[in-house]
Symmetry: none
Subunit: 208 residues, 4 copies
DNA sequence: TCGTAAGCGAGACGGTACGTCGAGTCTTGCT
DNA sequence: AGCAAGACTCGACGTACCGTCTCGCTTACGA
C-alpha cells in the first residue's frame, strides 16, 4: 500500500515538527560574530539570543553548554587549503600565510585557547574539540604526504610529526605573541625544518 | 626618639597597619591548588577565600582581577632548569622531560590557555602574562646559546627561534593531545630540529 | 438523496474531521488527577500532555489557557446533594459533611483559591468561574427554600444570604485551617445560624 | 577591659557587614505595589529587582521563594482596628466596613487566595501564612470578648467561632463576588449572627 | 473515489521568569 | 591602614513552562 511505500521511502523520519535548520545557521553565525567581537570570555548566550532572535531553549536543545556552542561556531571557520607548487618549502610558507590570515580575520585566537583550557577538565568537550581540530589538520598532513610522494621529502618522513613541527611554532607565536607573527621568522623556521627532515631522512635510509 | 628614627629610616613608609606578607603566600598557594583541581574556569575567588581563610578585600587589595591572581599563582611554579651535558640533543630531551613533568604535576596546561584566551582581549593582562612567559623562556634560550658557544650549533643559529622550534610542538601536543605526549615522537622531532639547525648553519656560513 | 437529508438534518455541521470527544474526557480526567496531586501551581500543561497522551494543540483547541482547562476539570467534580429530613439543622450538618468529604477527596481546596486569585485580574476567567460556582450553590439554596416552604424557617428569610452564612465559615476553615475542619465547631455554628434566622424572622414579621 | 565591656554589651552581634534594613523596606514596598498592580500571578521577582534597584541575591538572601516574599509584603498591610461603641452589632459593621476598605485599596484579594492555594501543597509556606493570618484575627476576636465582658453577648459564646461566623461570609463574598460586596447584605447577616449568638447563649445558660 | 478541510500526536519555537552563582565593591568591628 | 566576615550590585547561567506553530498522518464529508 501507499503507506508502506512512504514509510519505506523515509523510514527514519522522526515524528513531530522537525528542527528548523535556519535556526542553526543564524545561531552559529551570530555566535561567531560575537566571538570575534568579544572573545570567548565575553560571549554570552543571552547576547546570542538577542541577536539571533532565537529562544534560549532553541540553543540549548542543540548544544548542551556554551562551550559546545562555541565549538560548533568555531567549526564553521574555513579550512586551510594548501596549494601545490611542487616546492614544499614555498607550500609551507603559503600554508602559514593562510593561517596568519585566519588569525587576523577570525576569532580563532580567542576561541581556541579558551576551549583548550576548558577541555582539560571536561572530557566530553575534549573529544568534541579533538574531532574538530583533527579534521583541520588533515589538509596540512596531506600536503606533507604529497611532498614525500614527489620524492621531495624522504620516504621515511612521518607526515604527522613533520606537520607538528610546522604548526607547533605557529601556534606558540599566535598564542603568546600574536602581535609578533613575523613572516621572516617563519621563513627561517621552515628552512630549518625542511633541511632537518631531509638530513634525517638521508641518515636513516643510508643506515638501513 | 625611636619613632623619629624609624620615620627617617623609611620615609616612604605609608601610615596604618602594614600588609601581612603571610596572606600573600596562603592565597597564592590555595589558588594554585584550586587551579590544579578545577582548572581556571572552575576557579572561584570565593573558593580561595574559603580555603585560605582570607577575606575577599585582602585578595582584591593585591590583585585587580581573578586573572591577575591566577598569573601570580602561576608564577610560583618552578622554572625548567636545563642540565649541561655537552650534547645539545640530549640536553633538549632532558628539557622536554622536565616540561612533561610540570605538565602532569602543575595546572600549567589549564591555566595557560585560559590566560592566553583572556589576554587576547585584555592588553593589561597580556603584558603581565608576557612578562611571566618571557622569563620562563630564558633558561631554554640560554641552553641553546651555550651549545653555540661550544661550537655544537652553528654561530648563525638564532637562539630564540631555535628555542621556539622546540617549544612549539611541545605546546601543541600538550594543549591538544595531552594524553599523547609521547617521548619517542619528541626524540624524532629533536633530531630533525638539531639536524636542520646544523644543515642550515653550514649552508649559511659556506654561502657567506 | 441521503446526502441532502443529512445536510438538512445537521446544516451547521462544520467540514473536516470532527473532534474526538474521547480526548476531552482523557484530558480533563488527567488534569483533575494532577490538580489533586500537585495543586494548581504545580499543574503543567506538559504534564497533562504526557499523561493523557495527547498533543498540546488538542488541548489548546478546546481551552484557551491553563486556567480555563482547570475550571473545566474542576467542573467535573460532583455536586453536593442535600438530603431532605424535615429538620433543617441536621440537613445543614449533612451538607457540611458532604462538603468535607469533597475537601479531602478532591483538589477543590487547591484549585479554587488559585482560580479566585487569577480571576481578580482576569474578567473572562472571572465570569467562567462565576458560572461554575453559581451552579454549585444552587442545591444548597434550594435546601434553604424547602425549609422555608415547610415553615421551618421564617418566610422572610433570604435564601441566598442564609446559604452564605453557612458556606462562608466552611470556606474560611477549609482555606486557612484545612487540618482543623472540626465537625463540633460547625455544629455550634449551625445552631447559631438557624437560631438567628428564626429570631430575626420572628422580629421582622411581628414588626410588620 | 574595654573589649570585654563591648563584647558583653552586644554579645550576639554577628561579624561581617550587617544587612541593610533599608533594603528590606524597599523590597517589600515595591513588592506590595506590584502585587496591587498585577496580582500575585503577575508578580515577578525581576520586576521587584528593577523597581527596588536591588539585586536578586539580596532578595533571595532574605526570602527563599517568591511566595515567602509575598507573605512578608502582605504582612505590611495595616490591621483592622475595631472601635468600641458599646453596641456589638454596630461594632461588627464598622469592622466589616474597614475590611471592605482594605479590599479596595490593598492587594489583599489577589494575594490571599494565591497564597492559600500554594500553602495547600507547601507546609513551610502554610505555617508562615498561618502565623500572619492568625495575628490579623486577634483584634476581631478581642472585639467579641469585650462584648461578652460587657454582658452584651452570652458568657458561653466561643469568641473564635463567633468571629469565624462574621469573617467567613465576608471572605466568601470578597473571593467570589468582590464586585458585589454589598453593605446591606452584611447588615442582615450580622443581625442574624448576633441574634443567633444571644438565642443560643440563653438556651445554654437556662439549660445549665 | 477522490479532494478538501479539519483533527490528531509529536515536538520545535519565541518568550519570559525562575532561582543560582560568580566577580568585584562596600561596610562592619577589630587590630 | 589592614584584616575577616559577609552583604551588596550586576549580570549571566541553564531550566522550565506557556501558548503557538509546523510536520506527517488520519478521519469524515461531499462532489
Amino acid at each position: 500500500m501507499a503507506n508502506e511505500l512512504k514509510a519505506a521511502a523515509n523510514p527514519r523520519r522522526s515524528p513531530g515538527r522537525p528542527r528548523d535548520a535556519s535556526r542553526e545557521k543564524v545561531i552559529l553565525t551570530e555566535t561567531l560574530a560575537l566571538l570575534g567581537e568579544l572573545g570567548f570570555a565575553g560571549l554570552t548566550v543571552d547576547a546570542v539570543v538577542a541577536r539571533a532572535k532565537v529562544s534560549k531553549a532553541t540553543i540549548y536543545r542543540r548544544w548542551a553548554t556554551k562551550e559546545e556552542l562555541a565549538i560548533a561556531a568555531f567549526d564553521l571557520l574555513p579550512l586551510i587549503e594548501p596549494v601545490e607548487t611542487g616546492d614544499i618549502e614555498s607550500e609551507i610558507i603559503a600554508y602559514i600565510d593562510q593561517y596568519y590570515g585566519f588569525l587576523r580575520t577570525t576569532p580563532l585566537s580567542s576561541v581556541l585557547p579558551a576551549l583548550v583550557s576548558e577541555a582539560m577538565h571536561n572530557p566530553t568537550l575534549a573529544e568534541r574539540l579533538n574531532e574538530v581540530v583533527q579534521r583541520r589538520r588533515e589538509s596540512g598532513i596531506a600536503m606533507i604526504r604529497r611532498a614525500i610522494t614527489r620524492g621531495e621529502l624522504p620516504a621515511t618522513t612521518p607526515p604527522d610529526i613533520a606537520h607538528e613541527l610546522i604548526v607547533g611554532p605557529m601556534l606558540q607565536r599566535s598564542f603568546f605573541e600574536p602581535a609578533n607573527f613575523r613572516r621572516e621568522d617563519f621563513l627561517v623556521m621552515v628552512r630549518v625544518i625542511v633541511a632537518g627532515l631531509k638530513a634525517v631522512g638521508k641518515a636513516t635510509s643510508s643506515a638501513a
